[in-house]
Amino acid sequence: MTGSAPATPRNFLEEVELGTPGDSRLLMCIQCGTCGGSCPSGADMNHTPRQLFAMIRADMREEVLTSNTPWYCVSCYYCMVRCPQDIHITDIMYTLKDMAIKSDFNEEKAGSDLAQSFVDYVENYGRSFEFGLATRQYLRHQPLSILKKASMGLGMLSKGRIDLTPHKIEKIDQLRAILEEAKSFDYVDQEVGP
């Protein structure tokens, strides 16, 4: 049986699993804490990944989605390769960021604004645009350091390491159509079968 059986999540745990492309293996967590012990930014996180996963199981939706933990994940994948249960921890962190943005619980605006600016450039041009991205981010979230950043920006410019205008791909409409279709899959169904 192929077909797409729309699954309705019964709790927060299932919602996170459903929202993660591929097999998250989140259910397999044995609370060993290897993830937090391996995390380079763990000390600055509100909760270690292990704690966060326990909170997900406890259905603590709001507490999880207000946590800075997913945003402070640096995508180094240390936790994932060391996890004795092969849980796709980094993938789950991406899902939690996505859910936080959609939920209005998100308090880590520097993280979500960066991601959203990045998305805007990709969807408008098909490419990332480092100059625009950094400028928007610094003006909004590090305004006191703007002179220092401007000096760095001039350095980048004089070394030919930055463009002042974004580059647009040829088939941007094709890309947008693909992305539009992909967004309709978010949190709706998980197909089973061969």
Binding site: T20, P21, G22, P40, S41, D44, Y72, V74, S75, C76, Y77, Y78, V81, Y94, K97, D98, I101, A110, G111, L114, A115, Q116, F118, V119, V122, G126, R127, S128, F129, E130, L133, H141, Q142, S145, K148, M152, L154, G155, M156, K159, G160, R161, I162, H167, I169, K171, Q174, L175, A177, I178, L179, E180, E181, A182, K183, F185, Q190, E191, G193, P194
Partner: protein, 337 residues
């Protein structure tokens, strides 16, 4: 009889990591590598697109895989030099190959743009993998005309090239050897760098600089303790964070580290006898000139830049040599520009 590869440059390599691309292009004939760009490729999504649209991030890389598939002709190997690009491409390819749900959904999204990707068609590999496994150490040694004898280097892999390494291309997620051996083949003294696969701080420079400074400090401090002349990397994000933010990190911790960070392709080019300027050497923030001068590589003084630099207004306070001022490494960074 050069070997052909499909090539995904990625956004960074075209700009902030331009020296990486320039040095690769400079040495490609030495190592018999022919690169064919994927036509009209789009951004890989880095670590950001997937934080907003989970399926969109796979569709984004799916389009690049589909475009690469259309160009499969004599080779099905898709090479990326940027570790984030490499991982995003490799991850979507792996998930499509191993998970029916991902395969179907990504292809359904691609169909909206008239594209299709048959999982398993394209083999995604990192540039270092190509250099180490396909070109090989023997060929590299054969091409060396100016060995980097006496240059102490800290081989720095960062994260995404060796983790999660879903297709087990490097075989060791925490203690890889490929870059060490390539650099040794160039004649450099390679230190056994304990933090070789630690994180450069990724996007944290944009989200919480203080967190980023600590991760950058750990790496630079360790390389400095091992008396490395420079760190050598293979990822644009790692290079940018360690190089462009080293001055800010020094300012934050009141330290005065001076640890240049070059790409491994730049060192290959030097050892193969190329002109440093052709390899983009000199475009780094933390000047590599003195480290290279030690091994007899002369770089022209930055005359144009010095000339282009406006004179400082006389009223502005500047580091005054005569007074016992605390060390302000940021000043040094400004000077270097």
């Amino acid at each position: 009889m050069s070997k052909k590869y499909l090539f995904y440059p990625g956004c960074s390599m075209e700009r902030s990591a331009r020296p990486y691309l320039d040095s690769l292009l400079a040495i490609r004939e030495d190592i018999d590598v022919y690169l064919e760009d994927v036509q009209d490729w789009n951004c890989c999504g880095a670590t950001e697109y997937g934080a907003v649209h989970r399926w969109g991030s796979h569709a984004l890389t799916g389009r690049n895989l589909a475009l690469a598939q259309q160009q499969v002709n004599g080779t099905n190997t898709l090479v990326a030099g940027c570790s984030a690009c490499y991982l995003n491409l490799a991850k979507t390819e792996n998930y499509m190959r191993t998970n029916a749900d991902v395969n179907r959904k990504v292809n359904r999204a691609l169909a909206a743009g008239g594209l299709q990707y048959d999982a398993g068609t394209v083999e995604v590999r990192h540039l270092l993998d190509i250099v180490y496994n396909d070109v090989g150490l023997d060929k590299i040694k054969e091409m060396v005309t100016r060995p980097l004898t006496g240059l102490r280097v800290a081989p720095y892999y960062g994260c995404m090239i060796v983790r999660p390494d879903l297709d087990n291309r490097f075989g060791n997620a925490e203690y890889p050897q490929a870059l060490d051996q390539v650099l040794a083949a160039l004649g450099a003294t390679v230190i056994d760098f304990p933090l070789k696969t630690h994180c450069c701080s990724g996007h944290m420079t944009q989200i919480s600089p203080v967190v980023a400074y600590e991760l950058i400090r750990r790496l630079v401090h360790s390389a400095d303790q091992y008396k490395a002349d420079m760190m050598v990397t293979l990822c644009p994000m790692c290079q940018l964070n360690l190089d462009a933010y080293q001055g800010e990190m020094n300012g934050y911790y009141k330290t005065s580290y001076h640890m240049p960070v070059l790409y491994f392709t730049q060192l290959m080019g030097l050892a193969f006898g190329h002109d440093p300027a052709e390899l983009g050497i000199g475009k780094e923030f933390v000047d590599a000139r003195s480290a290279l001068a030690n091994i007899g590589v002369e770089l022209p003084a930055e005359e144009e830049e010095a000339a282009a630099k406006p004179a400082r207004p006389s009223g502005r306070r500047k580091k005054e040599e005569g007074l016992p001022m605390p060390l302000m490494p940021d000043d040094d960074v400004e000077e270097a520009e």
